[in-house]
Symmetry: C2
Subunit: 215 residues, 2 copies
């Protein structure tokens, strides 16, 4: 049977799945929208995107302390209910993300959080590099775009390859968790401290200090 | 024997102790500045203030997770050497500060970190309160000053009464630790996350959500 545009729109609204997936689901279920919803859920193609729009205000705050207290991470991961927050699956996910942050040192959760002036200054560096290496003007924008994408992948938690499995990334890990646990799950914020980072040890003061101690 | 002003100044420069303490120490040691330094060190009166100027770039990052992961704290406390960082005394101090932050929810480490516009907006609130309650103009500045001091005590970690012993505060705790451990010790930064704080749960969406699930 043929599938109407109205049916596809209806199914998309209900599931958030892609147009082609909706068409296929409706073809499989002879245009029965309710059955098509189940079909998409079973395939794991519905829910995740639909759920990703829901408000997640419960969850866990978790920490990961590394190297005897020289690096520490605090992370908040949200889900929708305390019921899910209390499951081992959720707790394991949050632990993995904390470990990942400790190891991979992301600067932002998502690319939307990178300040515009950071991107501008990175772009300028890449532009100058490209100009100096004699690249023709017309390819420079493309080069910069590629370098900025690389910058996002290296600095944004959600886009980083997962430290325990580089075939996936944190965003995919979350999407899988959403499909599995049936709630929207988001990484809201994190802090990563490394002892003494950015504090300048004035080594030239050492002689003076010794002198002062003996003085 | 009499103690000269130059000797007192010298001793103060070396130890950071108070003028009266320096005078007393010099009187006790017949004006021998080196012996007076030892005297003050033994009394624990030297060092703390002097050491408080030294660069602390080692230390520990520690976490405190409360209420099954609903509140979490990450804190960096610096000392000067890994030797001190590895002692039980230092580790206990850092744990206590983490626990304190979880319980007392400070907003800043020290009063110098409170942004000027926060103080201005607090001052305006206090001013309007005082004016409305009919306080005479000439006492209002004094009232505001008192309220701002109270604001610092409530919101700045170093000035908060210690949660495990309200007779002391965090700054005093650090000064005692400096005297005891013989290194400068500073709280550099902390993060405190409470799950879901500031995220609005749209409860009015619940009916629509149920309808959508059944639709």
């Amino acid at each position: 049977m043929s599938v109407s545009a109205a049916q596809v729109r209806d199914l998309r609204d209900k599931t958030g799945a892609g147009i082609m997936d909706c068409k296929k689901a409706l073809a499989e279920t002879n245009g029965d929208v309710d059955k098509a919803v189940d079909f998409l859920r079973e395939k794991g193609l519905a829910s995740a995107k639909k759920k990703a729009g829901r408000i997640a205000a419960d969850g866990l705050v978790s920490s990961y302390i590394h190297a005897g207290g020289k690096v520490g991470v605090l992370v908040e991961v949200n889900c929708e209910t305390d019921f899910v927050a209390k499951t081992d699956d959720f707790s394991d996910l949050v632990s993995d993300i904390g470990l990942h942050i400790a190891a991979m040192n992301p600067q932002y959760v998502r690319r939307e959080e990178v300040p515009a002036d950071v991107i501008e200054s990175e772009s300028n560096i890449f532009r100058n590099q490209a100009l100096e290496s004699g690249k023709p003007e017309q390819v420079i924008d493309k080069i910069i775009q590629g370098k900025i994408e690389k910058f996002y992948k290296e600095n944004c938690l959600l886009e980083q390859p997962f430290v325990k499995d580089s075939d996936t990334n944190i965003e995919k890990l979350l999407t899988e968790a959403i499909a599995k646990m049936g709630e929207n799950i988001t990484v809201r914020r994190f802090s990563r401290y490394k002892v003494g980072e950015g504090i300048e040890k004035k080594s030239e003061d050492f002689a003076a200090e010794v002198a002062a101690m003996q003085g």
